[in-house]
C-alpha cells in the first residue's frame, strides 16, 4: 500500500501539517493566555473567531486585499473584546456565562451576516504559502527536509509562532506585563500600589480578543479560504483548554497547540496508511491526550489566583 511513500516523506508531512494546523489554535490560545493572566476567563473566543473569520472573508472577497481583511478581523476582535470587558469587568457579570453568551452572539451574528451579505459558500484566494525565493531558481522551500517543514507556510503561520516569544516578552519583561500578571494574581495588592486593575484587565481582554479575531481570519483567508456557518467547530474552546494545558505560559501553550495539531495530523495519516486502528479511536486521540494532560496536577499551580473573580475596590 502506498508503496512509493517513504517513511521520511510521511514524517515530514505530519510535521508540516502539524505546524500549519497549529496556527488558529496558537493565535486564539495566546490571546486567551493574556486574558486569563489578567484574571478574566473569556469563553467567547469561539464566537470572536467566527466573527473574525466572517469579516476577514467578506472584506477579502469584496476588496481582494488580504491585509485589509486581516485588519477587519482585528477590529471586530477589538470590538467584541471591548464588549466582553464592559460586561465582565465593569459590570462584573459572571464570566463563564457572559463568555458563552458572547460565543452564541458570534455564532448567530456571523451566520446571519453570512446569509444576508454572501448567501452561499464560495472560495477566495487567500494568503498563499511562502516560498522564500533567494533567486529565481532557488527557494528556501526547496531545501530537503528543513525547507519542507519550515519554509512553506502562510505568513500567518509565521506570525503565530513569532507571537510566542513576543508574548513571553510582553508578559515577563514589560511593566504592562507585570501589571497584567499582578491583577490576575492579587488585584487588591496591585490596586494598593496604584495599578489600575480594570484598565489592565481591559487591555488584556481586548488584546486577547483581537488575537482571537486573527485566529478566525487565519482559517477563512489563509488555511481554508472559505467561510461556512459555524466553521470554527470548537477550535476556540480547545484553545481555552490549551491555556490550562500550557500552564498559562506562552511556550507551554505553543507546545500544547503543536501536540494537539500534530496528533490530529498523525491520526489522519494513520487512516490513510491503513493502519488497523478504527477511525473512531484515532479521531479521539487528540482529545484524550488533552484530558490526560489537563489532569496532571502540578500544572494547576500556575493558575492565576484571581481568575474569574471580578474586582471591586473595598468590597471584598
Amino acid at each position: 500500500m502506498n508503496g512509493e511513500l517513504t517513511t521520511i516523506a510521511i514524517i515530514l508531512g505530519i510535521i508540516h501539517q502539524g505546524i500549519r494546523l497549529a496556527t488558529p489554535y496558537l493565535f486564539a490560545a495566546l490571546g486567551e493566555t493574556f486574558s486569563q493572566r489578567s484574571g478574566v476567563l473569556n469563553l467567547g473566543v469561539e464566537g470572536i473567531m467566527l466573527m473574525g473569520a466572517f469579516f476577514s472573508f467578506y472584506v477579502a472577497s469584496e476588496t481582494g486585499n488580504l491585509w485589509l481583511a486581516l485588519l477587519a478581523a482585528i477590529i471586530i476582535g477589538v470590538l467584541m473584546g471591548l464588549f466582553m470587558a464592559v460586561v465582565s469587568i465593569t459590570f462584573q457579570a459572571e464570566q463563564g456565562i457572559s463568555g458563552i453568551g458572547l460565543y452564541l452572539f458570534g455564532l448567530g451574528m456571523s451566520s446571519l451576516l453570512f446569509k444576508t451579505m454572501i448567501g452561499s459558500v464560495t472560495g477566495i484566494t487567500g494568503f498563499s504559502e511562502l516560498q522564500f525565493c533567494v533567486t529565481d531558481s532557488f527557494c528556501l522551500a526547496d531545501i530537503p527536509v528543513l525547507g519542507e517543514i519550515f519554509f512553506s507556510h502562510s505568513i500567518l503561520t509565521y506570525g503565530a509562532f513569532l507571537l510566542v516569544p513576543i508574548s513571553v516578552w510582553l508578559l515577563k519583561r514589560t511593566t504592562w506585563g507585570l501589571k497584567v500578571r499582578s491583577v490576575g494574581q492579587n488585584p487588591e495588592a496591585a490596586d494598593s500600589v496604584g495599578v489600575s486593575v480594570n484598565r489592565a484587565r481591559y487591555a488584556a481582554v481586548i488584546l486577547g480578543s483581537a488575537l482571537a479575531g486573527i485566529a478566525g481570519a487565519s482559517l477563512s483567508i489563509s488555511l481554508l479560504n472559505v467561510f461556512q456557518e459555524n466553521m470554527i467547530n470548537g477550535i476556540g474552546f480547545i484553545a481555552v483548554a490549551l491555556v490550562y494545558f500550557g500552564g498559562w505560559s506562552p511556550v507551554g501553550v505553543m507546545f500544547g497547540a503543536l501536540l494537539f495539531s500534530t496528533i490530529s495530523a498523525l491520526q489522519l495519516w494513520g487512516q490513510v496508511l491503513g493502519l488497523n486502528i478504527s477511525s473512531n479511536i484515532s479521531v479521539m486521540l487528540p482529545y484524550i491526550l488533552t484530558i490526560v494532560a489537563l489532569a496532571i496536577p502540578f500544572r494547576r499551580a500556575a493558575q492565576p489566583a484571581a481568575l474569574t473573580k471580578p474586582f471591586s475596590r473595598g468590597e471584598n
Partner: protein, 379 residues
C-alpha cells in the same frame, strides 16, 4: 452577586435569540433557489411523464419523477416544517432538502406551500422541542432531517395523530412502537457512490483516490461503501485512501485530510458532509478534481467540482404530501435511488468522455439491476 448572574444570563438569552434569528430571517430573504436546472442534465431522456403511473407508485419504484413542468400533482395548501442539524447553506445534507422544498414552493407558490425551518439543531433535545412546537402550530408535515432524531420523534408523533412526521437516514417508521404517522426516508447513497467510484477510477492517473468522510456510519458509510466498490469493480489495483474526521463540521480537519491525501499521491478527491468545503478549498488550490455528493458544491470550487450526486428530495416530498392529504399519515419507507431520480448526476462537460460513458453505464446497470453493489468490510 445576584445582579451579576442576572446580567450574565441576560446576555446569554440575547445570544440565544440571535442564534434563533439566524434561521427565521433567512427564510424570508433567501433568494429563490434555482429550480429545475439541476435535475435536467441527465434525466431529460428518461423522463416520460405519466401521471397515472405516479399515482399508483409504491415505495420502491417511484418512477418517472424527473420534475418537468406538468409533473407536479395538484395538492391542497400545505405547511411544512424542517428541523436540520446543519444549515440551509451547508452545500450538503441540509441544503439538499431545503433546496428541494424551495423548488416545490416556487412551483406551488408561497401561499399554498409554506416552509418553516430551524437550523443548527445538532443537539437532539433542542430539536425535539422544535419538532413539538411545529406540530403544535399545525404544520402538516414535520421533517426531522437526521438519523439522531428518531427516538424523540416516536415520543412526539403519537400526540399529533393527524400530523405527518418524517426522518432519515433510516428505514424505521416506528411501526414496532405502534407509531403510524412517521415516514422514514433513506438515500441509497451506495448507488450514487458506486457510479462515482467508477467515474473516479477512470479519471485517476496516479492510481490513488482520496476520500474525506465525516464518520463511518449512516449515509456517509453507505456512500463510502458504494464508492469503494465502484473503484474496485473497475480496477482492483487502484488504491483507495479513506480518512474520517470524526465530525460533520470540522472544516479545518477536513482540509488537512485532503492535504494528507494529496501528499499520499491521490489525484482525485471526494467526500461527504458539510465540512468538505474545507477539502474542496484544498482541491481548488491544487487543481485536483473533486467529486461531490448531496448538494451541488461547485460554488465552493467551480473549476474542480467536476461531478455531483445531487439528492433530489422533490419526488419523496411529493409522495409524503400526497399521502398525508389522502389521509395516510406515515408508516412507509421512502428511498432516494437512481431509478426514482432521488439521486441525480451532474457531469462537467470537460470530463473525459470514456469516464462519463462508464459512469452512465454504471448508472444504467444499477437501475436495471445488472450491477450488484457488494461492499468490502472496513475497519
Amino acid at each position: 452577586m445576584k445582579k451579576k448572574w442576572l446580567l450574565g444570563i441576560l446576555i446569554l438569552v440575547l445570544g440565544l435569540l440571535l442564534v434563533a434569528c439566524g434561521g427565521d430571517t433567512a427564510s424570508d430573504e433567501e433568494p429563490a433557489a434555482e429550480a429545475d436546472t439541476p435535475a435536467a442534465e441527465t434525466t431529460e431522456d428518461e423522463a416520460v411523464a405519466d401521471s397515472a403511473e405516479s399515482e399508483t407508485m409504491d415505495d420502491e419504484t417511484m418512477d418517472d419523477e424527473a420534475m418537468m413542468d406538468g409533473d407536479y400533482p395538484d395538492i391542497e395548501p400545505v405547511r411544512i416544517a424542517l428541523v436540520m442539524p446543519s444549515t440551509t447553506t451547508d452545500l450538503a445534507w441540509s441544503q439538499s432538502m431545503y433546496d428541494s422544498l424551495k423548488q416545490l414552493q416556487d412551483h406551488y407558490g408561497a401561499d399554498n406551500f409554506e416552509i418553516a425551518f430551524t437550523e443548527n439543531m445538532f443537539n437532539v433535545t433542542d430539536a425535539a422541542a422544535a419538532i413539538r412546537d411545529y406540530a403544535e402550530s399545525g404544520y402538516n408535515l414535520v421533517i426531522a432531517h437526521g438519523a439522531q432524531y428518531g427516538t424523540s420523534l416516536f415520543e412526539i408523533a403519537p400526540d399529533f395523530p393527524e400530523t405527518s412526521f418524517a426522518w432519515g437516514t433510516t428505514t424505521n417508521t416506528g411501526e414496532e412502537e405502534g407509531v403510524t404517522n412517521v415516514f422514514a426516508y433513506e438515500p441509497r447513497a451506495e448507488q450514487g457512490g458506486y457510479v462515482q467510484g467508477v467515474l473516479a477510477a477512470h479519471m485517476t492517473e496516479a492510481g490513488i483516490i482520496g476520500l474525506v468522510g465525516p464518520v463511518d456510519a449512516g449515509d456517509a458509510k453507505l456512500h463510502v461503501d458504494g464508492f469503494t466498490a465502484g473503484v474496485r469493480d473497475t480496477d482492483p489495483d487502484i488504491q483507495m485512501n479513506i480518512s474520517f474526521t470524526g465530525s460533520f463540521g470540522d472544516t479545518a480537519l477536513a482540509a488537512e485530510a485532503a492535504n494528507t491525501h494529496l501528499q499520499a499521491g491521490a489525484d482525485v478527491l471526494t467526500g461527504s458532509s458539510q465540512q468538505v468545503v474545507g477539502a474542496i478549498g484544498v482541491a481548488n488550490e491544487a487543481k485536483v478534481p473533486w467529486l461531490g455528493i448531496q448538494a451541488d458544491q461547485s460554488p465552493a470550487g467551480e473549476d474542480v467540482v467536476v461531478s455531483t450526486i445531487l439528492y433530489d428530495w422533490v419526488p419523496t416530498l411529493l409522495e409524503m404530501i400526497t399521502s398525508n392529504q389522502a389521509g395516510e399519515y406515515g408508516g412507509r419507507v421512502l428511498q432516494l435511488t437512481l431509478a426514482n431520480h432521488g439521486q441525480v448526476f451532474l457531469y462537467d462537460e470537460d470530463l473525459p468522455a470514456d469516464a462519463v460513458e462508464a459512469a452512465l453505464a454504471a448508472e444504467q446497470g444499477i437501475i436495471d439491476g445488472t450491477i450488484e453493489i457488494v461492499a468490502d468490510p472496513r475497519n
